[in-house]
Amino acid sequence: MCCEIEYTTIGGISGPLVFVEGVRGVGLGEIVEIRDGESLRIGQTLEVDEDRAVVQVFEGTSGLAVKGMRVSFVGRSLEIPVDRAMLGRVFDGLGRPSDGYPQVVTDRRMNVNGLPVNPWSREYPRDFIQTGISAIDGMNTLIRGQKLPIFSGSGMPHNLIAAQIARQAMILSEEEEFTVIFAAMGVKFDVARFFIDSLEESGVLTHSAIFLSLADAPSIERLITPKVALTLAEHLAFDEGMHVLVILTDMTNYCESLRELSSSRGEIPSRKGYPGYLYSDLASIYERAGRLKGFDGSITQMPILTMPSDDISHPVPDLTGYITEGQIVLERELFNKGIYPPIAGLPSLSRLMKDGIGEGRTRADHAQVAAQLFASYAKVKRIRSLAAIVGEEELSDLDKIYLEFGNSFEEEFLSQGENENRTIEETLEKGWRMLSILPQEELYRVRREDIDRYYIPSSDGGD
C-alpha cells in the first residue's frame, strides 16, 4: 500500500503483543512496522477486528511504551529476498544480513510462510544419503528429501553428530550441487560458532547460509527464523535445483517461544502449557521438506531438539515424532558409557528407509540385516534387565552369548570416530560380524541365502 497510515492509538502492550486501536482495513497476517524514535521493529497481525489489531512484535516489546510508538501496516505478509548469492553469508533471525555486508540485490522475494505442497505434486523420496555413520546408514537410513530429527538431551553430542553428517553427506559432485542451511534458534553463540567452524573446515561454508537468532535475541524472533531459512531452501532447491540440507536447532526453544506467545494471548493451553495448535504449527515447518515432481532439487531437514529431562513423551519430541519421518534418538546410558555417537538402538527409526535401500540402492540384504540387528538388540535389552535381577552367572548360555553380542554391537558397530566415514559396505560387513556372534538359528529375520553368503561361522568369526 502506498500511503501508509501511522497509528499512535496503542491500546496496550502485553508480552510480545501490541494492541492497536482504531485501525481500518488491516488484514490477517499482515506485516507491521513499529517505530519508536529511531528504532524500527517488525511485527505481524495475529487477529483483526473492525477497529482493533493484535500485533506480535518479533523483536519483542521491551523498551516500548504506549505513548510515542508509531505503527504502520504494510499490507502484505513477511517476505525476504532470496538468491543464491546468499550462500556464504550470515543473517539474523529475520533474514537480515548480520555479517556486515549489504543486503543481497535481487528481484526475487518470497513470502516466508510458504504455501502447502500439493500431495499430488510430491515425488516420493528414495535416494539414499551415505552419512558414513553406521547407526544411521545401517539401521536408520537417511533419504534425500527426508525430515529426520535428532532427539537429544542436554550435554549430549547432537551438534557434533549433526556436523559430522553435514560434513560427510555433502560430498561435492560434478553434476549435483549441495548446500547446507543452518538456522539457530535460541542457542548460545558457541554452538553457532562450532557449526560455522565445522562447515568452514570441511570447505562447505561458502555453500552454506547461516541464520542466527541466538539466545540473547528476543524470543519471539525465533518463530520466524525456521520459516526464513526454509524459504531460502525452497528457492535453492526448486528454483536452482540444489540438494539442500537444513539443520534447525533447537526446536525446543522454538516451541517455548510459541508457548510464550500463546500464553500472552490468553489461549487455553493443551499439554504442559503448549498451545493446542503446536502440532499444526510444527507441521507447517517440517512439511517443508521433500522433493517435487519435475524438479531436481530436494530439501532434507534435520531438526535438533533437546528433550526436557530426557523425556521422549514431552510434547515437543512427541509432536515432532508424529510429523517427521522417523527420529534419531540419543541415549544417556550409551553416552555415559563413552560411546560416540550415542544413538539409541531401539527408539531410533527412519520411515523412508524401506524404499531407499536394498538391491540397486544399497545392498540386497540391508533391510533384513537391519531388522535382525534391531530384534537381537531388543533381546539384549531384555536379558540385561533380567541379569540385573538374577545376576549374570544365572543366565543361560544363549543369554550370555546375547550379552556378548550386545556389547560388541555397542562398542564396534554403534561406536565410531568423529571423523570416521564408513561406506555402506563397511557398515553391513560390521553388521554381519556382530550377527555372527549369535548362533545361526537365532537369525530368523535374515534370509537363508544371505546367511550362507555373509555369516561368519564361529571358528573364524567372533573375535
Partner: protein, 597 residues
Amino acid sequence: MVSATETRNAPIEGKVISVNGPIVKAAGLTGVKMFDIAEVGSDGLIGEVIRLLGPVALIQVYEDNTGLKPGDKVISEGRPLSVLLGPGLIANIYDGIQRPLVGISEQCGSYIEKGVKLSALDAQKQWTFTPSAKPGDEVAEGQIIGEIEETPLVVHRVLIPPGVFGRLENVVEAGPRTIEDVIYTVQTKTGLYEGKLAGYWPVRMARPVRSKKKPFIPLMTGQRIIDTFFPIARGGTAAIPGGFGTGKTMTQHALAKWCNADIIIYIGCGERGNEMTDVLTEFPKLVDERNGRPLIERTVMIANTSNMPVPAREVSIYTGVTIAEFYRDMGYSVAVMADSTSRWAEALRELSSRLGDMPAEEGFPPYLATRLAEFYERAGLVETLSGADGDISIIGAVSPPGGDFSEPVTQHTSRFVRCFWALDKTLADARHYPSISWVDSYTEYLNDIEGWWRELDEQWLVIRNEVMNILLEDHRLQQLVKLVGADALPMFQQFTLHVAEMIKNAFLQQNSFDPIDKYCSPEKQLKLLKVILALYERGGVLVKAGLTLKDITDLPSLSEMVRLKSEIPNNETNRIDEYRERLLGELELLKEQVLGV
C-alpha cells in the same frame, strides 16, 4: 433437494467484522442457515457457517485466509457444504473439501494456492451409460436406473436419489453421457424430477438406508493377527491407537491394499504429505490378486495433510464417509481408513477454542464424544434403499499424546468401536510388526463371524482360542521370568514359553515389505496355526513325559518353522501340511527313541 443442477437461491451478501485465525465473524447475512457455505473475501475463500449469534454469523474458513480484512465481503447462496457424488470419484485424490488435487496442480503448480475453484468431477468426461429401467416404470428412491463402467473394477450403479418417487417418464438410450446431461425424468407428486449422473449431498448428513443389520462376514485383511485373533466384520468399526512410529499408517496401508472390500476410501487427515504420495505412487502399480487390476481402480483418496488448512481437516472425514455411503448405496462393501482421527479431534479443539467454548477434558470441547459417536455410527451393514446389502467398515487411527491411551480421544473412541488394535511401543522398538498387542487388543466380532470360518474348518474358533491361550499363559509367565529367569521355571512352562515365542515369530510377526508375507490367505493362516498347535500338543506330551526343551528344539525341522510364512506362497499351502507331517514324524521318532515307546 439433491441434484447436480442446484436450485441456486439469490445470494445474500454480508461483511467481515473480525478475523481470528480461520474463524471469521460476519454481519449482514440475513437468512443464512447453519452449515451453509459462504464465500469470503475477494478471493471467494470457501467457508461454512458454524454458528449464528443474533445478527452475526461465525464462519469457519477452509482455506488460508491471511490478508483477509474487516470490511471484506461475504456471500452465501444458502446451500449447505456438500460433496458432489457421481462417476469419476474413483482413483481421484481430493482435499478435505473435495477439490481435486490433480486439477489444482494443473492450475497452480506444486503448491496449493488459495481461492482455487474447481469441480470435483470432470463435467466433460463421457461415460457410457446403460439404462436398466424403461419409461413407464414406477420407480422409488434408491432404485437402480442404469449402469456405467467407472473403472474396470467398479460398475457404477446410477440410483434414483433419496426422496424421489414416481413414474419414470423418460430415460436416455445407452450411450455416452456427461454428468451435466439429464438422463431420466420422473413424474413425482410435486413435479417433474430431472435426474443426472451426479448430485450433491450435504457432508454432515448421513445418507438414508432402510435398516441396519448385524455384520456377519469378516473383512479379510491378509494380516494374521487381525484376521485370526482380532477380526473386524464387514460393516464394523475398529480403532488403531498407538504412539508415533508404532505402525498405524502401515497397518492402514496394508488394509487398504489387501482387504477384500470393493471400494477403499483412504483419508489422510492431518498427516504427512509423503504418505499420500506413497499411496499415489504405489496403488497404480499394485495388483489386486482377485482380478489382476491395479488397486487404484477401487480407491478414492482424501488428503488434507498436516500443513493444509486445519478447518478442512475437520470436514475431511465427513467428505470421505459421505463418498463411502454413496458407494454403499450401490450395494458395495466399502472400507474407510481415517488416519488420523486424533488430528480431526485436534482440529475440533482448535476451532472450538477460537470460538471461546468452555473446554472439557484436555481442552477438547464437551461435544467431542458425540461427534466421534456420530462418525462411527455411519459404519454398518445395511439394507440399502434398493433392498440390497451394502456395508461400510471404518478403521480409524488414533494418535495419543505421549502414547498414553488414557487421553480423551482414545478413551472415547474405544467406547464407540468394537475392535481395538492397540499398538505396543516395545514391540515396535524390537521391530516386531505389526506391533498390535495380543494382550491389550480386543474384538467384539468373533462370534458374529465365526460362521464364515467354520466353512473352512469346523474347529476354527477352538484352534484360535487354544493358540490365544498359549499367548496369554506366556504373558503371565513372563512376569515370573522377569524375576527369576526362564531356566528356573518347570520344564513344561519353559516349553510353553518357547511355543509362544514361535507363535510370535512364525505367526504374529508379519512383514509388509516381504513379497510373500505381506498378504496371508485365510487357508494359510489356519494351516500355520495348526503347525504350531501340533508342536504344542505333541511336544507337550513328550515334555510332560520327561523330555527337555532342548530335545525338542534340536529337532531338525524346528528352525524352519519361522520361515514358512515368508517361503511358502498362498497358493502352495499344501507345503505347510507336508512340513507339519515331517514335524510330527520327527516328534514321533523322538518319542520312540527317548521314551522307548
